[in-house]
Symmetry: C2
Subunit: 321 residues, 2 copies
């Protein structure tokens, strides 16, 4: 009988889940549609049934010890998701309580970036570290801070919003209603906005001129940069510079052993790493210089979201036996 935790990643379109043993092996996985359910209760009931079935149907017997959930706006203290902009349901969803009741084991919830941080700590690039930051570069910029071995939730439970640090007063409009947030510059859509600005600023040849903004992705910018497109390379340099300064500033506050980049934009590899590291090193306070490593996630080729959610469950409920 293998002890497992279920790791669940709630996304706006799909929900992915898996059974994960203590060593971080995903024994089995499944997924379901999120968006088709009109009522959150129906969705959570169906999700519980899927997880239960996965455990019951596993080839060798497993003992489901608990459930870890990563989801947008997931609040660790209350176990609820409140008004997540990319989920179809409004109001406060008692996600952890409802899943725990249906499945009959304890459940714990956090947001995606904190789950990613737990995944890196238990099974990834932060193994053995007690002070580090995971920065997820996707449609937004999320972050999970681990301080002295524990996720920093802060007084409100919503700590770790590096993407909403204002890096440019009266800068770019952000989905949060303010201006100049880091994620408006450093994220998938952020680098596309930078390309648009650069195209507007000076006429220059670039394959990116052939792609409408609506269709352009960070992947297009990456591909262009790899084929030597100067404008695309400049966009990465500018993005990395802004990120590097923000990271130097976060080093001044939390002094982590490592900052780990994850997500779509991180898959650009050295295109984003090099300019970020250059500015980060230059801009870091002298007595902290060289003390923080900049790393890529070790989980990008695995199901990091499921692993992270399960890692949270293992960290919180895995003691004993």
């Amino acid at each position: 009988m293998t002890d497992v935790m279920a790791g669940i990643d709630i996304g706006g379109t799909n929900t992915v889940f898996g059974l994960v043993d203590r060593d971080g092996n995903i024994l089995s996985e499944g997924h379901m549609s999120t968006a088709v359910y009109d009522e959150a209760e129906d969705y959570l009931e169906a999700l519980a049934a899927h997880v239960q079935t996965l455990a019951d149907a596993h080839a060798s017997p497993v003992k489901l010890r608990g459930v870890g959930i990563g989801g947008p706006n997931g609040h660790y203290f209350s176990g609820t998701i409140e008004d997540a902009p990319n989920l179809p349901w409004k109001g406060t969803l008692e996600v952890a309580d409802i899943l725990s009741t249906h499945i009959g084991v304890p459940a714990v919830l956090t947001n995606d970036a904190n789950a990613a941080a737990m995944g890196e700590m238990l099974y990834g690039a932060a193994e053995g570290m007690k002070d580090f930051v995971v920065v997820t570069l996707g449609t937004g910029l999320g972050s999970g801070y681990v301080v002295d071995g524990r996720v920093m939730y802060g007084w409100s439970g919503f700590a770790g919003e590096l993407g909403h640090v204002i890096v440019q007063e009266n800068g770019r409009a952000c989905g949060c209603g303010r201006r100049g947030c880091l994620e408006t510059y450093v994220s998938g859509p952020g680098i596309v906005r930078t390309v648009m600005e650069m195209l507007g600023d000076a006429p220059r040849g670039s394959s990116l001129r052939d792609i409408p903004m609506q269709a352009m992705t960070a992947r297009d910018v990456t591909d262009a940069a790899r084929t030597g497109d100067a404008l695309a390379n400049d966009a990465f340099a500018r993005t990395g510079h802004i990120l590097g300064l923000a990271l130097a500033n976060t080093i001044a506050i939390t002094s982590p052993q490592a900052i780990i980049l994850f997500g779509g934009l991180a898959q650009a590899g050295r295109l984003i790493l090099e300019p970020t590291l250059r500015t980060m090193e230059t801009m870091t306070l002298s007595n902290l210089k060289g003390s923080t490593r900049l790393l890529l996630s070790a989980l990008m080729q695995r199901n990091a979201a499921v692993l992270g959610a399960a890692a949270l469950a293992w960290a919180d409920m895995g003691a004993g036996k």
Copy 2:
């Protein structure tokens, strides 16, 4: 027999020390010159003798349980002070070890701002809080972050350098060798520099025109503002705005229950509080808005540095008996 901790505040000119009971009462105090000792060893030996004498000479018998020390660049993990710019000795000083050996009780060291944070947590404005920040506004800007009930030291031991967050790329020259650090704008000398810039920017009447920069202090700016000097009031508004934005950004990262202002510039009271709070509230991310209080230190009329250093000792070594 009353249990006490010695609290020691090492300054560049003077060193102040006192015996503090568990409830934060300073039973007796003393001070000595720092700058007159050519050798750090001689200074530390004399300091140990002073503390010992204070304990021996106390009217009612006390039991000295330990020593807490706050000092510039004080490193908690190693108990050392390394190349503090405002101390007369260079190299690495084994402050905690040497004092512990001479006095015969355990000793623990941290920097001034972290000691201030411990003082506020045990005896001041942060009593009962587990997540808060103390910002000391003096000749520089120091900060101590408490996360989940413990000072955040970070991987290096040098976390909490809010004063060296770069708020303006290529901004004002900082003593650290970089440009645009928060403390070049928000500190005693910082507001004086702002006054100078404003005087240079546009000719306007102000009593501050009569004071040479070399002689001007934050106190002069405060006095002028209180008598209705428009330029001085504008300087506070600008300083508060820059601080408020930096605090909104630190709220996004650590989500504290309170941010507590301490030090000379904080003694300007509402002159600095009001503009800071206004910008902080406006610039804070919506789901964190209203969750962090901005407070003045509750220890400004007491010997906060001695209390803070003793609080560190009580927190670290006060268990039992």
